[in-house]
Amino acid sequence: MIKILYVADVHGSNTCYKKFLNALKLYKVDVGIMMGDLCGKMINPIVEQTDGTYLATIMGSNIVAKTEEELANLEKEIATTGNYSFRTSREEMEVLKKEGKSIQGRIDERAASISLSDGKIDDLFKKLVLERMNYWMELAEERISGSGIDVYMGAGNDDIMQVDDIIRQSSTVKHADDNKVVIRDEFEMISSSWSNPTPWDTERECPEEEFEEKLEALASQLENPEKSIFNFHVPPYDTLIDQAPKLSEDLVPSTDETIAAGSKAVSNIIKKYQPLLGLHGHIHESRGIVKIGKTSCINPGSEYSEGILRGVLLMMNKGKMKDFMFISG
């Protein structure tokens, strides 16, 4: 039997990533797959004050760090939530703020004054994102190398393109995106980090027709589609696992109306090829499992900002999915 742990949408959370690595051994899996939206969404600047202390705002609360130890804890707390910390001065903050566009809004559970990135802030983001990705690859090397566990990682629509290069350079983690891999000489897996259009003009999104062409190109590589795994970040359209809160024109989420945020291209490809499994993420709230014909499509959900790892264990045997179990730890 081959045991697979699948997780998605960790959004830069150091805690969730470390839990993923630890979970591979804890659950005694053979294969670990982390797919989609690896990058964090925000930078929490830690600003040096005139009295030598440092000040940051986390989830609306001002936190003051007076010692190096407190600073390290603060940075760790920020990293747990998936954000990036950045020590800076008041002067530098003023320069950076001028580069961004101040708005009021919310990302996941945080209501704060937010500056949308542009210019220098964009460069800062790239730097911090890639630093963390490199750190993650080092951790994988340290903890998984030689364990006999195969680890696959791929980006999602939110992730900057440079993330792929970092993963490809790893000697321990295998890159899963826009390619076909074979898991344990048994299950072909094709992966895609792309998505259909979203309200946020993310890094990797395209119209449905173009998306379907990309997926078709991937699927055409398969020798045995019915025994394959479709590792597509975006879930199939209008199922239990793609329901997202409906947004108004000015991005106010509804409390009771949901819309299908998944992809019709993904649905079409799954219906056409009927793989064994569809592994998805993208919609954090829509944890679940549905069937499209003979294909079981799974979204493990995400609670990354609380440092909770959501995933699904898949027990594969004799070319089939024997069983599954959702986990959260």
Partner: protein
């Protein structure tokens, strides 16, 4: 206080605006079924003579806000995408307890709510509607018990299942329309009652009494008092505490706000405000209409009409039910439009509660299925309906058996026992989770990431303080249930039922654990603590 440090967000970050607080509050109100709750509270004077509505309401308000609202707010805000009490309790207490609570609530209590609430459409709602339209409600006596009640209830039950199978989009749209209707109906009744003085009411009563050859107001009160064995001259604590049970219907069920997929939660804003405002608004409404009703009827009158509504009275020959809707309709001379709005308000609100029970059951069972604590088909979603049809049909079959029992043995007070069962299981254990949340090692990292970790009262985490208050409130309500004679006939049975259901729930966990173990699956891994470093 230092200014907030601005954070930087990537453009492609999923940024949204804050969800509307009004929407969140309204979402909670949708679950309170105000016309039904109102009716139940006012009817309670029949079996809780001498209850002080003001004291009971204010006590419930304070304890609900400081207890339940804060508990659900803190847990929901700390784990906004977790999916509710099943997960809170599994993580903080133990998966066995999490499943026990979920089994008791999602499984048994939801079935029990259908058992008692579905029949109320025929037993209570339709007679009220008939009366409010100026038609003789005795025409529908046939549907208030026996096969008639069974027929009407089956229609309601089938309709409820079909609503859920039609999909969540349809459900939410229908809920908004029907519950808005129910709220308007309750407001209309409230305005009519508020605008009618005690003297004016007696005048109207007596004029209709002549028309229907019924006792005048004074005569009715006297006859009801005799039948009741006397109306207390003043209020007492036993009945007042007992009244907190029906009042809780209108106060606590807004907790459903916690399940709104993480989209209204902000560390210090929407989730708390929505939970608290929901309670305040609903309870304020009850206080307004309830006190206006009591003023209109008088102390003796409110007892007398409650008694009549419950037991009937020889000499009371009005063609409508002795309820606040019936009297409001009488006051406006059976205006058909107002009568339809008010009478229909009860029916639609009650119906939606049946529908909600199906939704809650299906979600609970689906969650167990995902954790492999149930048969594989628990996670089956019909591709045609996009709903867990097998689970819905399972509940339908079980509920039809249950409503058969109710139809031939109707007992409105059974709803109080159902509520107590739910309070102890869901609210009690969840309160315990909140109480110990800051101190449990296995969820330390969740607590450390919680926006409420700095909230302290006299040095104690507010989560703990509010957990204590909520737990105390549950204990108070349970004591109220056991000390009131009105509920005594149910004590033995329902205590036994509660223990049996919990035993089944815990057994369910261990049975499926053993079944899965044979298949090579360890279900304890579903909530296993994973080292974070």
């Amino acid at each position: 206080m230092k200014d907030n440090v601005e954070v930087f967000a990537r453009k492609a970050s999923g940024l949204t605006r804050e969800a509307s607080l009004f929407d969140a509050v309204y979402f909670g109100i949708l679950n309170n079924a105000i016309p039904v709750s109102l009716w139940f509270v006012l009817a309670a004077f029949a079996w809780l003579p001498g209850a002080n509505l003001t004291v009971a309401t204010l006590l419930t308000l304070v304890l609900t806000v400081l207890g339940f609202a804060f508990v659900w707010g803190i847990l929901g805000g700390s784990m906004p995408r977790s999916g509710g009490s099943y997960v809170y309790n599994s993580r903080i207490l133990h998966p066995v307890i999490g499943l026990g609570v979920s089994f008791c609530n999602g499984g048994f209590v939801m079935l029990a709510w259908i058992w008692v609430l579905a029949p109320w459409v025929g037993e209570v709602g339709i007679p009220i509607m008939m009366g409010s339209l100026g038609m003789d409600s005795s025409m529908v006596d046939w549907m208030t018990s026996g096969w008639g009640l069974y027929l009407i209830t089956t229609i309601v039950n089938v309709a409820a299942v079909l609503v859920v199978m039609a999909g969540m989009k349809f459900y939410f749209k229908l809920q908004k329309v029907l519950i808005t209707w129910s709220i308007i109906g309750a407001i209309v009744a409230g305005i009519i009652i508020s605008a009618t003085s005690h003297g004016k009411f007696i005048e109207i009563w007596n004029s209709y009494a002549t028309q229907y050859n019924s006792l005048d107001f004074a005569g009715t009160v006297a006859a009801a008092s005799d039948a009741m064995g006397g109306i207390p001259e003043t209020w007492n604590w036993t009945s007042t505490l007992g009244l907190m049970l029906p009042i809780s219907w209108i106060a606590v069920y807004g907790y459903i706000i916690t399940f709104i997929g993480g989209e209204v939660k902000s560390p210090r804003k929407s989730i708390f405000m929505a939970q608290i405002l929901n309670v305040v608004i609903c309870v304020a409404f009850l206080l307004w209409v309830g006190l206006a009703y009591q003023r209109m009827l008088g102390w003796d009158g409110i007892h007398a009409v409650a008694w009549i509504g419950e037991e009937g009275l020889e000499g009371f020959n009005f063609p409508f039910e002795a309820t606040y809707i019936g009297f409001a309709s009488m006051i406006v001379g059976y205006n058909k439009i107002l009568g339809f709005i008010m009478g229909g308000a009860f029916i639609v609100a009650d119906f939606m509660w049946v529908v909600i029970s199906y939704v809650a059951w299906s979600r609970a069972a689906f969650a167990w299925g995902m954790d492999r604590l149930g048969p594989r088909w628990f996670t089956d979603i019909s591709p045609r309906f996009n709903q867990p049809v097998k689970m819905l049909l399972t509940m339908f079959v079980a509920s039809q058996i249950a409503i058969t029992q109710y139809s031939f043995n109707p007992e409105i007070l059974g709803s109080v026992s159902v509520e107590v069962t739910q309070l102890v299981s869901v609210f009690g254990f969840t309160a315990l989770s909140a109480l110990i949340f800051p101190y449990v090692k296995k969820v330390k990292h969740i607590w450390e990431a919680s926006p409420y970790k700095e909230w302290k009262f006299l040095g104690i985490p507010v989560a703990t303080v509010t957990g204590v208050i909520a737990l105390g409130f549950v204990v108070l309500l349970v004591i109220s249930y056991y000390i009131n004679e009105a509920f005594a006939f149910m004590h033995t049975w329902w205590t036994a039922i509660y223990l049996i259901v919990w035993a089944i729930g815990i057994s369910w966990y261990f049975i499926w654990k053993a079944v899965r173990k044979k298949e090579g699956i360890d279900v304890t891994m579903a909530f296993k603590e994973i080292p974070p470093e």
